[in-house]
Symmetry: D2
Subunit: 462 residues, 4 copies
């Protein structure tokens, strides 16, 4: 007699698709089988049972470049849970002059109100070898993923420091995460735009051609290759970026690629909207159809690995002249799973299994989460019941973020989570919040144990 049994759902994982009961004992999955008996029963007939979704790229009330995002750990994690997310990984943007450990601890303090489990990437901002030398200790504390920026004042590191940091990451068996943009040339093109009076959102993309993203990614991967570091490229946005990741992978390098939902779904033309366009002045920028095709293609053929949100939205504000505008930042944490189901699976770009893989399973592997992302005895009982038939339209009012608009306002969705279970506890059910903020647990991560699935072959069509 197990504590809880999810009965009769269609269990979908990165590789499987079958009907079974899932039994939970305490916080873990105890069994997957037929006719399992439980003290409590949840009827999942007609629903998909998925591993809890993981969003490996979020910013809960972080400050960055003068922005303070308006979702904090509490509101953001509640929105996440409504969207089927059971784990988020935030970032500690360690201030200059602060040790990585202290910066991490401060950030951990801010994340305590989390409803769901969480991890933290640690961002090396200080361009010094001494600070980089702190990396192994951080990795060994269970924070293996070190974020390195190639762009943004106050964040970008010189290549030599990126390289030295990657060497530290490699020595400690961690993961180098890179925000890859060619800062120097973007700045130069921006300077030229300004000098020529070319200002406004529509010139944003012109200073960030895809060829430069290809350059920055190739450079990051070359450095990681020489350093011997496992490397994840955040928010790949351009066809040239996909090309370089695929090429490095083909040469045998251990490299991963992340796609953010907005790059896969929105076009640069959206910047023209007077009210909403200002929110979409992002780096890397929104691009065109050819690039979006490359991103979906890369996810489908396993050249890219995971879909995240870079969730970090802001409430609308008025500018000096009193005009309402939307500060830069994207929301998405509550709708990602449904968006990728709708525009990935329903649209024929991804298989059902691959959808679960890029949203739920593969992020666990890439981010070193040993007990997440699978529906298998011994794993955390993080589960989502997803109704594939439910149809709705995105609007900020329905969502649970602390913001007054949505990046995906008006997008039609097909399928949505109905219940979210975190370590055996039903925290969201049919639109009702049942879990308590602060119950989320900090996750130790790493690559020392067996976390990786071997690739299976292409499906035999039916």
């Amino acid at each position: 007699m197990h504590d809880l049994v999810i009965r009769g759902g269609r269990v979908i994982t990165a590789t499987d698709d079958y009907v079974a009961d899932v039994a939970v004992q305490g916080e873990r999955i105890a069994a997957v089988g037929e006719d399992l008996r439980g003290e409590e029963i949840i009827d999942a007939e007609g629903l998909y049972v998925l591993p809890g979704a993981i969003d490996g790229h979020v910013h809960m009330r972080t400050e960055r470049a003068h922005d303070v995002y308006d979702d904090d750990a509490r509101t953001g994690s509640i929105a996440a849970a409504f969207g089927g997310v059971t784990t988020i990984i935030d970032q500690a943007q360690v201030p200059l002059g602060t040790t990585l450990r202290k910066g991490l601890e401060q950030r951990l303090e801010e994340l305590r109100p989390c409803l769901i489990d969480y991890g933290v990437h640690v961002n090396l901002r200080e361009p010094s070898r001494e600070r980089a030398a702190e990396i192994p200790a951080i990795v060994n504390m269970g924070f293996p993923s070190i974020k390195l920026f190639m762009n943004y004042d106050g964040y970008a590191l010189p290549d030599a420091i990126i390289f030295a940091a990657m060497q530290e990451v490699a020595a400690a068996n961690g993961l180098a995460i890179v925000h890859a943009e060619n800062r120097e040339i973007i700045d130069e093109l921006t300077r030229q735009n300004l000098a020529a009076g070319r200002t406004g959102p529509r010139w944003h993309l012109s200073a960030r051609p895809g060829a430069l993203e290809g350059e920055a990614i190739h450079r990051a991967l070359a450095l990681a290759n020489v350093a011997g570091a496992r490397c994840l490229i955040f928010h790949v946005s351009a066809a040239e970026g996909v090309r370089e990741i695929r090429a490095a992978r083909t040469r045998g390098q251990e490299v991963y690629g992340e796609v953010c939902a907005h790059h896969a779904l929105l076009d640069a033309a959206a910047l023209a909207d007077p009210l909403r366009g200002s929110a979409l002045v992002l780096s890397p920028p929104l691009r065109g159809e050819r690039d979006r095709d490359a991103l979906w293609g890369g996810l489908a053929d396993h050249s890219l690995d995971i879909v995240s949100t870079d969730h970090g939205p802001r409430r609308r504000a008025r500018d000096a002249a009193g005009t309402l505008y939307t500060p830069p930042g994207t929301s998405g944490i509550e709708v990602r799973l449904a968006l990728i189901h709708t525009y990935g699976v329903t649209a024929g770009r991804l298989s059902l299994n691959r959808w679960v893989d890029v949203c739920c399973s593969r992020p666990a592997q890439v981010h070193g989460l040993h007990r997440k992302g699978q529906i298998r005895p011994g794993f955390d009982a993080d589960l989502v019941l997803f109704d594939p038939q439910r149809e709705l339209t995105v609007s900020a009012e329905r969502l649970h973020s602390n913001i007054d608009h949505s990046t995906y306002e008006g997008f039609a969705l097909r399928g949505f989570p109905v219940s979210t279970i975190s370590r055996g506890e039903l925290i969201v059910d049919h639109g009702e919040l049942l879990g308590e903020a602060g119950r989320g647990r900090l996750l130790a991560r790493g690559y020392d144990h067996a976390t990786a699935a071997t690739p299976a072959a292409a499906p035999v069509s039916r």
Copy 2:
């Protein structure tokens, strides 16, 4: 309380690797979990628990080209079970002038003594469109895999008939299996060899250059492509064959490739052995190191799918002059799983998961076996307990085939099955035969239900 619980083994599948109990109820897997309770318990600590191996290419006492193989359904299936095999697929070589149905039924009669479950590929030998038109009925009876020969007198079909048969296969949603060799040119080169007095085993390969295998496979795949048929190439042996399959796959065609153990493990030089060489005069032929590297590489990178044996051995005989020789044919059914573990996994060519995939899981998908090949509730309780530490050397005396030698005589093995469970029944245990010949069941196969795993991504190294 389940009927049987395999306790504490290391469950290894094509994608997973974890410690758990596996519970069996009746003939099926009922649950995978922790602390499962069973009437009967098998302690698997320290052992691998694998899905039962599947050998999709065997000949039990079939006549072909004047050969009568010396293992029959009983002896061959017993040898199989000792080697961890729980399903075999034999072939009905339907005689000329006989309907496919009648030929199939005769063959089914001969397979009744099987200890383990079995299926049958149906071989279209008669070069007529009328005979080919019987294919859909056969597919719909649960025999979706139609074998088509491009070589051998009495077996080879003209391309037009192969194409027409593929169209029938496509219409019925079956699988065209092709023995792909360029018969005309092989015959021509053989004729030239004979005319020049170049006879004997060592000239065998010279008449079968790899470029001709590439030709035959490309042709078979082009025909399958135009016909719209799913296609499996049997016993790929040459680098050029791997190249053509990989290229077609990259173009999006649904094509599969099989490797036979002997092509992956033996060199053409073996034909020089006076006593044993005559057994190895095979078509396609044994080749060289470059070809073997291509086969292992193709298995590792998913360009090829499955490893089989083409098991069809013969006892030694004396020729007219009274000299002992070994008639052509390979054994291997009892050692394949261990051979691929030893020379694939231990040698660093395949991962543990991929070993299980090519021997156990992928054959189930490719051959349309819905309830085989996975350790998952609802699937048949076909399980192997494999001791990865056991070391032994192949010799015919230890094996259970009805023959007096072994193709792999003297090969060192690392790891061997200790127990084999077929549909919940322990049929072989620690060297003892417990199951009864004839208990095996004929399997209906097909592609109408969900059988296929979606590919997962490359592993995150530890």
Copy 3:
């Protein structure tokens, strides 16, 4: 003082483009230089001076499959000369039961009235090794190119004979030319079309999918590879064909590809024309835009080598019901050079140099014509003066073939030859025929002397 000097033209070859005088002494080019002095002077200012064009694929009043083409050696070679062609290569379709030598000699007799120089490909039609064994003698007589058909009743050879013939070609250092189509499957698809009542020109293409051309070409090249024979594929028509030639070339095989003008310029939709469509029921068939793009791309990137015409037109006729129709066959010998200039160079698909290469220089190399195709001292003084500004529209009345229509009726042309010089003799000048039929000379061909240009690099743009 030279016999003749072409003064001040823009000399364009496969690799050069410069203004110079070209001096002729007797039948040869004596010098290229400045201020050359001649007894006779032709002013070429404003004109291109090209090596005489070569059409390596024509049929002058050949019978084939019940067709008798309506241009004979006299009319066809006159039309050729007006189009800037100074060499043609016809075919000896040696009848069954006749030795290659005798068949060749009969054909040579028929070609005597040629105005320009000519060669002959010898077609092995008889499916016998004995006949194939005559090949080396033919090659050594100066006829190195042996034509082998994979399609057409009475022409197609079994693969074994094609292979044996290629071995003979290889031994004699000749060239195997292949008409590559998969006859068996085309026949099968045609049979199925007929059985289903799908008749008429529009079903012609449906029985000849591009994948089958890819198959036939791959097969031909595999056989040539094993035989060790240099190989030219005639009239490549499908993207799949280009793909296979490019792949073989990349693997280092010595293979060449020919494009016929109609495949590069006409669409399968043209078959719908009631009067003209019947002329275009060709094998290989006219195809679609994707295929034409592949042909032009293959010519541009050197995956394909030469452009020919397969010139073999027929006059209009009346069918049994008295309706006028156009029997199958294409004209083109008089307009090819201008067509490729217009739709290749002017349309931006080929450079000026590459146009000259595929029409004039490369055919000389591929067909073993040692003294043709270059403007260089010692080479035959075969020269065309081409006015790149002249504009005209193709119509049968303006042309010199013995037919009453043109395959390219209504095509706009930009650029046309104004004078044609053959071995130093001005044979066509400003629309006037000056040469005498019968002056053409039979050319000995072969590969024993230095004929090949080494590839130069990509151009440095200006």
Copy 4:
């Protein structure tokens, strides 16, 4: 009656190979033909007649990084002429604080003693947009090639300035030449080597892995691509560098690659020689066999374009302790043509035509020399008579550089120039210097006229 006729030589160009007379009138080639008559006759029977070789990368007594090379314009150009070189391109390393024009003029002054014709690349050293803005004027003066360093203190430019300079180059239709190395990471690795006590020549390569050259080249090409500039990568040394150039070229970018003779011929192991190793501490470094194979392969398949020397040798010197050593720098200007003939053509890596192409013709195209590099009427009469049979061994005594050793000491040579003609004047003949220093002329270069050969196809083997 021409001024001079080279009679009966074997004229070899990038695309041709035939016996002819070459007539010279004044400084130009007047005609190529048979039986040309001249006031003066040079008998070239048995010799190759080549276009004068061009060395596009030399340093005659330049200072760079504290080195003063020991060949000056006079001695270096005399050595060049003995080696069949008729044009060199030196570099103006414009000092900081000096306008490009002034720096160029100073350098031109120093080059006046040249025996042969010369050009100058202008090096932008000052990292300022203002200095970069001077580029168009320099290009328009006939100096289209702007050298940009990514490495070396006092030479390396920030990426933004490289990019801005490339934009200026693009606007003026010039050529950006890049010394591509990843300075930051090389410095970091060097720092780490030093910190770990790893000093000496053998650690030189360890700080310059090929992957970093791939990185730097990819970055340079990405910047050139965005800027729209034609780009030449100097001294490609690593397989990864060849790979990136080939990839960019395949994507359609106008990029060229140079190989320096020492990278193609010497191994990193040579640094171990106590006396000579110190001369070979070069950047990019000498590497291994895999890299040399990639360089030869890139030249052969047209992924790389030209072979130069980076000639800039120094006489032996004594260090503080009085020990004789060889300061860094390579000689080679006198032996390049013979070395590439010996180790390229004779060794089977390059065809005869390709040898002439990479040493003589292609440099003219890449560097915008309109009247050099071809044997064609109107071109400068720069010609080399090369004896392919002559055998000798490289030793400094036989050579004409102002140094006391040779980079290729002891190398066997097959073939050597016997006579060198510059603009119609015989300046070196059978080991005797006939021309006068200072007769060389400064060459205006550019891309506005027709300079480019279109690629021809692969040769038809004989």
